[in-house]
Each structure stands twice: as C-alpha cells, then as structure tokens.
C-alpha cells in the first residue's frame, strides 16, 4: 500500500516535470501545481488535503483582509497559534488530526505567518491561486523549506526549461542521495545503536554522536529528495543544510542547520522583537535586549517543533547558549579589540576547539528532545560517572 502510494506520488512529480515546460501561461502553471497537490493528497489521505487547503484558504482570506486593515494582524496570528496548538491537543485526536502536525501544518502556518506579515507591511499582494500553491507546495509540503510568497511567484512565473538529460541526472543525483541518507545510512545507524542510552562512558558518547548523525541524515536526506524533485519540476527550493556540524559556534550552527527556519526566526521574530525592545524598554542596552530575544525566539523554536516540555527545554538551552556566546563575543571585543578578535577567529587551535565544543553542545542537547530533562541529565552524568 505504502509502495503504491509512493509510486503514485512520484508519478505526479514526473507528470509535472514533463508537462510544465510545455505550458506558457503562468496561471496554468499555478493550476498544474494545484492539481498536483490535490492528486497527491487523493493518493495519500484526502482528508489531510482538505484540512491543509481549507486552512490555506482561511489564511488567504486573512491576508487579503490584513492588506486592507493591518490591525487585524495580531488577532489573526493568535488564531494561527490556536490552530497549531489545537492540532496537537484536539480532544478527539483521531488519526487524521494526529497526522496533521506531521504532514505539513507547522510549515504551512509559518508560511502563512510570513504571508500575513508581508501583507501587513504592504509588500505582498495575496492572489488566491498562487497563495494556495505557496502554502501547500506539492513537493515541500511536509517539512519545508520556508520561502516567502515572492520567491514562490518567481518559481511559477516562467514555463521553465525542458526536462533534459542534464537536469534529470542532477535531480536524480539529489533524490538518490536523499534516499541513501534516509533509508540506508540513517536506518543503519538506528539498527546499530537503537538509541536506548543504557550505556556509559565512551560508548554513550558514541551513541550520542550517532544520534546527532541520525538526525542530520534523516532531515537532510528528506531535503535532498525535495530539492531533487524540485529540480525536475522547475521549482528548486533553497538549500537547508550546509555542513552544520562543522560550525565553529552555536550562532553559525543556526545559519547552517535548517537554514530557512533560522532565516525565518531572525527576520520575522528576532529582529522585530529586538528592535521593539531597543526602541523602548532596553534603549541603550543592546546586549540585554538581545539576550531576552535569543531566549524567547529559541524557546519558541523548540515549541514550534513540538509543543511539549522536552522541546521547550531544548529550545531554551539553545537560546541560553546563543546568549552566552554573544556575551562572550562582546567581552572579547572589549578586551582585545577588533583586530584581536580577527586574530582569535583565524587561530586554528581556537577554531578546532570551538568547533568541537559546538558539536558537543548540539549533540548533547539532542538528548533533551528524546528524553525528559531529568532523565537526560541522569544519562549525561554517566558519561563521566559510569
């Protein structure tokens, strides 16, 4: 059954790839992507399609209203938050509602928020069919990336080049990479380690590292598949990963891991919140304002992944780490000056140590995602006290 569904979904992708270059009208290109999304939902679970398209329709109505009456933005965002929480805590919690958070709702709501924000500022004109394709993009509905409406419009404006051999192979390369990462390498890691965290000492360290690699392979593998499918369909999404585990600090990590989410947090949450605080309560105290914003934004980031205590703690830990790093960086700048910081950053020993520390932190905090905080601390204590 799953195999047939997968085959059907890939047939839809290839049909779009073949048909799109033959279509000249932008409106028909939009219609093709709408039809492709509808067909995919019909092949998987039509109720999820109805729910996601229904919510998208409401967001479109809200965006049009906000572009005329900007003060509706706040109440509408509260409704989006309610929808998000309701999808997890719906009293009936039937299988369809349970699968909504796993099948694209969190991403749809982020795209929706960005759309409403742009409508409020008058920089997005939400036209109905394009908005629907933007909110429910057939090849990236489940887990992003998160793009602004203007970028979706640019993907759909031109017919796109024909699916020639070069483009087919480029797409196939990414799709194959993705499947190898997701179905072979991450599965191999899971079958080898099982991630029960019963071990101690170096064995436990190895298990934590393997889990971090598993998270990376699973998510970046998914992104490879999405980018490959997008390459075939003439709608290539932006890269979402850039060697995140080689980051030399936690700020850099968030520019290399789930890049479009990092951009969303910086542009849609951190900057507006920080500027509001620095214009008002925290005028002249940028570091304090920044610390508050890092903590709030990253805690939100945790809750967005899943609104439970474990993810909240994970997000708060990352927010705290970013705040500590920023405070350290500012202190360093005051102590050794701009040229001293440049020399510090160029030092290979510092670079190696900070990269190792960042990887250790990221790896350790992933444990808080899969285990309650006290249990995670207890497990971690076995690294040094077997």
């Amino acid at each position: 059954m799953v195999g047939m569904t997968g085959l059907g979904a890939w047939s839809v992708v290839l049909a779009v790839a073949v048909l799109r270059p033959r279509i000249r009208s932008p409106n028909l290109i939009v219609a093709l992507f709408l039809a492709a999304a509808a067909a995919t939902f019909a092949l998987t679970d039509w109720r999820i399609g109805v729910a996601l398209f229904g919510i998208s329709g409401l967001i479109w109505v809200a965006a049009v209203s906000i572009s005329r009456v900007p003060r509706l933005f706040g109440p509408t965002v509260l409704v989006l938050v309610g929808l998000f929480l309701g999808s997890f805590w719906y009293p009936l919690y039937d299988p369809m509602v349970e699968s909504l958070p796993l099948l694209g709702l969190p991403y749809l709501l982020l795209r929706g928020y960005a759309l409403l924000d742009d409508a409020r500022q008058g920089i997005a004109v939400p036209r109905w069919p394009v908005t629907m394709v933007h909110l429910v993009p057939v090849h990236q509905v489940i887990a992003g990336p998160i793009e602004p409406l203007a970028l979706t419009e640019s993907h759909l404006r031109e017919p796109g080049p024909p699916l020639d051999f070069e483009r087919f192979v480029r797409g196939l390369d990414r799709v194959t990479n993705g499947f190898v990462k997701k179905l072979v390498l991450s599965e191999l890691l899971f079958q080898t380690f099982r991630f029960q965290f019963q071990s101690s000492g170096m064995e436990l360290v190895l298990e934590l590292v393997a889990q971090a690699l598993w998270f990376y392979l699973d998510f970046s593998g998914y992104m490879d598949i999405v980018i490959g499918a997008g390459t075939w369909m003439g709608w290539e999404p932006p890269e979402n990963f850039d060697w995140p585990y080689s980051s030399r600090n936690i700020v850099q990590f968030w520019t290399r891991w789930h890049i479009t989410l990092g951009d969303f947090i910086r542009n849609r949450l951190f900057n507006p919140m920080n500027i509001t605080l620095q214009r008002g309560w925290f005028r002249g105290r940028p570091l304090v304002a920044g610390i508050v914003c890092y903590f709030v934004c990253m805690t939100w980031c945790g809750l967005w992944h899943r609104p439970n205590f474990q993810f909240m703690v994970w997000g708060a830990l990352h927010g705290t780490a970013i705040a500590v790093f920023k405070a350290f960086e500012m202190l360093l700048l005051r102590r050794i000056g701009r040229q001293g910081v440049a020399r510090w950053n160029a030092n290979w020993g510092v670079r190696a140590l900070s990269t190792a520390m960042t990887f250790a932190f990221v790896t350790t905090t992933f444990l808080f995602v899969v285990r309650p905080p006290l249990e995670a601390v207890s497990i971690l204590s076995r690294v040094v006290m077997p």
């Binding site: 900057n271 920080n274 920023k326 960086e329 700048l333 910081v341």
Partner: protein
C-alpha cells in the same frame, strides 16, 4: 548634502571604533562584530540620529551600507 558622514559617525559610535572606515559597498561581513544583534543596535542608532523609522522589511532587506544610505536619504528628503 550626503548623509554619509553622519552615517559613518553612527557606525563608529555603535562599533566603538574611531578608525572604522565604511563605504557604500561595505557589508556586514566586512566589519568584525556586525551581526544580527549589532545590526539592530545600528538601526536604532541611525533612527535616533536622523529622526526616522525603518520597517521590518527595510531592516531585513539591507544588503550593504549603500542601501542603508539610500533609505536614510529617501526618508529625510
């Protein structure tokens, strides 16, 4: 008259460096310490210096000092 000299003064105050040189082509990558946190401090300082306000999209969309200068000059014209 160009707003550039006043803008350079704001940069030097925010980055606490009297020798700092910025041109229209300068980007965040060219100045040590110009990150998302300092960017907002810079924006607030520019707003205060010129008595203007930037929108979120303007703050997010500035690619270099030249674009900041263009916005300042458009808002103070």
């Amino acid at each position: 008259m160009s707003a550039m000299p006043r803008l350079v003064r704001v940069f030097r105050e925010v980055f606490d460096d009297e020798t700092l040189t910025v041109t229209a082509g300068t980007t965040a990558k060219d100045v040590v310490g110009w990150d998302s946190l300092t960017h907002v401090s810079l924006i607030v300082a520019v707003e205060s210096e010129f008595g203007i306000r930037f929108s979120s999209s303007e703050i997010n969309g500035m690619a270099n000092v030249g674009e900041l200068l263009r916005l300042v000059e458009a808002k103070t014209a």
